[in-house]
């Protein structure tokens, strides 16, 4: 087991700069999730750690060892690929044993390790099958088993769940978490799915256009996003944004919105400053004296909750409602209330959070 340290990692492909200086430290045994939209460089960063890409600048260290120029096989890492990349001509047993055989582990030890791994992952009954004879979920387990069998110090996951259906994805997600708890290994996990990111991570790393936008414990990142980008990326449905101005009485006022905010959190703001108000759909609730007026256009009842889609002023807005209460009908106006503590304010041009922010990464 080892910590993983990246310093100023840059990568240029042709005319595109994919990574613009990534600094990251993942502690020994930590589960870090790299998250970001498509094209943000998260897969490239993972491949750079694996040694499949060579960085154009900066360094990668495993523990105290600089592995920037080391071949993948000399890095003591294992990787689970999005496509699983199982060797199609080998049985599950041989797939699991592949890396061990290359390292000339003796056959008895290999058999024991394969048995252990297949028991852990519940794939013992599949050992003699070929990859083409298995379902997607089974292949995914074998791919993880192949990584585990080698007992590397760092595990890399490249969107391992994206080829599974939703139900299976939820199940495997839990299993991966259990696995991490039982192995205690350092893991670096790439996904574009913010649910996976939130649920799995000890440390969440949000990447945007080749830079680390924010990192930290997932809940902290969720609650105190440093930018509109992070705020919008995490949470589903996504955060609502409304243009407004600071009023004189500790409120923000805008078209169809008038809300109190936590002035202590935003000491630098003066009346008249333009801001962007961020409100999560979950943080609003209907109230007769609510000062956010939503014109409902579409209702999405989900059972125990419901989403009301509509506009506030001229802006699109989504509100989560209690599914058991009477639901408004399209065309109705709904008055909504939000606690001052849940109102986030962003700079309307730079998109940075306006609170006494932690230094942006």
């Amino acid at each position: 087991m080892a910590a993983l340290t990246l310093r100023g990692v840059r990568k240029v492909l042709g005319e595109n700069t994919i990574l613009r200086g990534i600094d990251l430290r993942i502690e020994d045994g930590e589960f870090a999730v790299l998250v970001g939209p498509s094209g943000c460089g998260k897969s490239t960063l993972l491949r750079t750690v694996a040694g499949l890409e060579e960085p154009d600048g900066g360094s990668v260290a495993l523990g105290d060892r600089d592995v920037t120029r080391a071949a993948p096989r000399d890095r003591d890492i294992a990787m689970v690929f999005q496509s699983y990349a199982l060797y199609p001509h080998l049985t599950v047993r041989d797939n699991l044993a592949f890396g061990l055989r290359l390292r000339q582990v003796d056959e008895a030890a290999i058999a024991a390790r394969v048995a252990e791994v297949s028991k852990t992952l519940d794939i013992a009954h599949l050992l003699d099958r070929l990859p083409k004879e298995m379902s997607g979920g089974q292949r995914q387990r074998v791919a993880m088993g192949r990584a585990i069998a080698r007992r590397p110090s760092v595990f890399l996951f490249d969107e391992p769940l994206s080829n599974l259906d939703a139900a299976l994805r939820a199940q495997v997600r839990v299993e991966i978490k259990k696995l991490h708890q039982s192995l205690g290994a350092t893991m670096l996990y790439v996904t574009h799915d913010q649910v996976e990111a939130m649920t799995l991570a000890d440390r969440l790393v949000v990447l945007n256009a080749g830079r680390v936008e924010q990192q930290g414990p997932p809940l902290e990142v969720y609650r105190r996003p440093v930018s509109r980008f992070v705020a919008a990326f995490l949470g589903s449905p996504s955060m609502n944004f409304l243009p407004a101005k600071i009023a004189s009485d500790g409120r923000v006022e805008g078209d169809g919105v008038s809300l109190a905010y936590d002035a202590a959190r935003y000491p630098a703001l003066k009346p008249g400053d333009p801001v962007e108000v961020g409100l999560r759909p979950h943080d609003v609730s209907p109230a007769s004296d609510g000062r956010v007026t939503l014109e409902v256009e579409v209702m999405e009842p989900m059972g125990f909750e419901a989403y009301a889609h509509g506009t506030v002023g001229a802006q699109g807005f989504v509100a989560r409602l209690d599914g058991s209460a009477a639901l408004p009908r399209p065309g109705e106006r709904l008055a909504l209330h939000a606690d001052a503590g849940s109102v986030l304010l962003f700079h309307p041009e730079t998109g940075r959070a306006l609170d006494a922010a932690e230094p942006a990464a």
Partner: protein
Amino acid sequence: MRASLAALLLLCVGVLAPGSAWAQRLVLWHAYRGDEQRALEGAVEAWRRAAHPGVTVEVLAMPFESYASKLESAIPHGNGPDLFIDAHERVTSYRARGLLAPVASLGEAEYTARFDDTAVRAFSSDGSLWAVPLSVKCVALYLNPALVHGEVRSLADLEALRSSLPRDSYPLVYEASSAYFHAAFAHAFGSGYLDERGRYLFVGDGAERSVARVLAMLDARTIPEEASGTLVSQLFLTGHAAAAISGPWLAAELGDRVRFTVQPLPTVPEAEGRSLEPFATVEGALLSAHAREPALARVLARALGEVPAAVTRARVGRQVVATREAWERSPELARDPVLSAFRRASMGARPMPTHARMRAAWEPARMALAKALRRDGTVRAALDEGARRFADVTRPLPRRRDGTLALLAVGAAALGLCLSALRRARDPDYRIALRRSASAYLWVGHAALAVGLLVVTPVVIGAATSLYATESGRSYYVGLANYVDILIARGGPLLATGSFYRVLLVTCLWTAVNITLHLALGVSLALLLSRPALRMKAMYRVLLILPWAVPSYVTALAWKGMFHRQFGAMNALLVALGGEPISWFARFSTAFAANVATNAWLGFPFMMVVTIGALAGIPRDLYEAASVDGATSWQQFWKITVPMLRPSLGPAVALGTIWTFNQFNVVFLVSGGEPDGETEILVSEAYRWAFTRQAQYGYAAAYSVLIFGLLALATRRRGSAR
């Protein structure tokens, strides 16, 4: 008005004339070209004008290569000529097929006396003269007066020139390893190739002494090694040879470019002073047994041998005419130094044996001579091997067998098939199924018919041929005798040269070595071409596929040229690297290597293309997974690339095996089976049985069926192993 009436009249005459009794028509076939063709046409026209103005003579020039087979198929069906010009060697075969009528009886001594003895002898048998002798062709001695001073009477006179000539020049050049040229030496030493009764002669004391004499000349550098026809004329033309043994064609080639004289071949002191006695080929006018105008055809044939026609043929066609009187009456001919020298040479020449077995004697004699001259074992052993080879090829054909049983079996099988078809047709389920798929059968019907006609029928006929033996163009049923003969190696040792098993071993070695090379070359090049870093990939790809795009026989001939001992690029390269030139086709190993090199060149592009396609289908992330798992590039190749290529390369290897197993072009054109037929593979061996050894089609067909069986078995096993 008057003109149109005349034209109408002429038209009527034209239409009526062929049918009328006085307008006769003759057809004359020949295979001459150039001057000889012009001379013949001139002579015929002169005869027609002078004596038979009402006769139409159609003089047809036929292609030389298929001349005999055209005659053999056309004459019995009445489509052949009334008379034709051909060489005397074929008379026996034509007579056996009943194609000829005699032109005179040998009793007409007055008539036969008009021609040179050699010529008359060539066409005489069973009391008749079978053609009007026209001309004699044989080889003679060309001398370069700039290098030869004084008379050349014996070989010793030529050998004496050695000391006065520079090292790169030779006293004598001729195609020493050609059986045709060696005949002169064999005859001088009392040997030959075949006697009148068809017995093989090129064995024993006289034959050995004749070969030893040639070896002595090679040792003394009197003659060059491995001389081909091209080399002979080149050396003589450039003044690097004092003398040459060659035919009239060399004179035509030399023209005015170098001064030369011609004389009959010299004597050999070691052969009790006898002269070298070359083969003579006598050409004559032969009469078809199915001529429409036999009497008139005979008149024309005889006329072609008369003085006026003979003089025309000699003057225009440069033929050494066989008509004595022509030489006596035409001072122009008598004064012509080249023609008269060839005439004198022809008088000392021996007509080529006419026995049907002569065709089977050439190959053993040529191989024996070649083996002895390259000093592969003793001369005696080489000649004895030739005799065995001849005996092998001319062994008695299998006995005729009663085909009734086989016919009954085939009939019973056919009947059984019909019955079972009938029974199935009555099954209602089957009829419903048939009706449902009727339209499908309609769609494939024409294709099935075409395949049936073009593929199945020839295959069945070919396979049936293997149950027959052929003698003088007539086939008879012999059952499985051909197969038995092949499988017991014709009674000889199982691994003797030319036995089925030996050739099979060579074929398997050939196939294995080739496929290995094809795979190694094809896969490595494909791997190189698939490297993402490589630039100008498309160009390399085209260049590497090119060998595949060139017709294989063109490639094979080009490679054969490169392996020539004297002019080949390979030996030039060896010499440039400080090595000794190699006689590539003198040893099995080098001849086999030459064949393999050619076929490797021909075969790797296919494997390369297949591999490139298969490589493109291997996902990149497998290599990434393997490299993360700890595999080096080498391990990635063996553990990922090779197993992933296997499914695509398997069928390609099966196909390549079949192609290589049957790669006739390369073996036939590059080594031609040299040395001694050792590099022959099964298909080329089958070809030899059919086309150079007494036309044993049945035997060759049995070979083909066995080849088919072996390949079917091999590919089936491969298929079921998967």
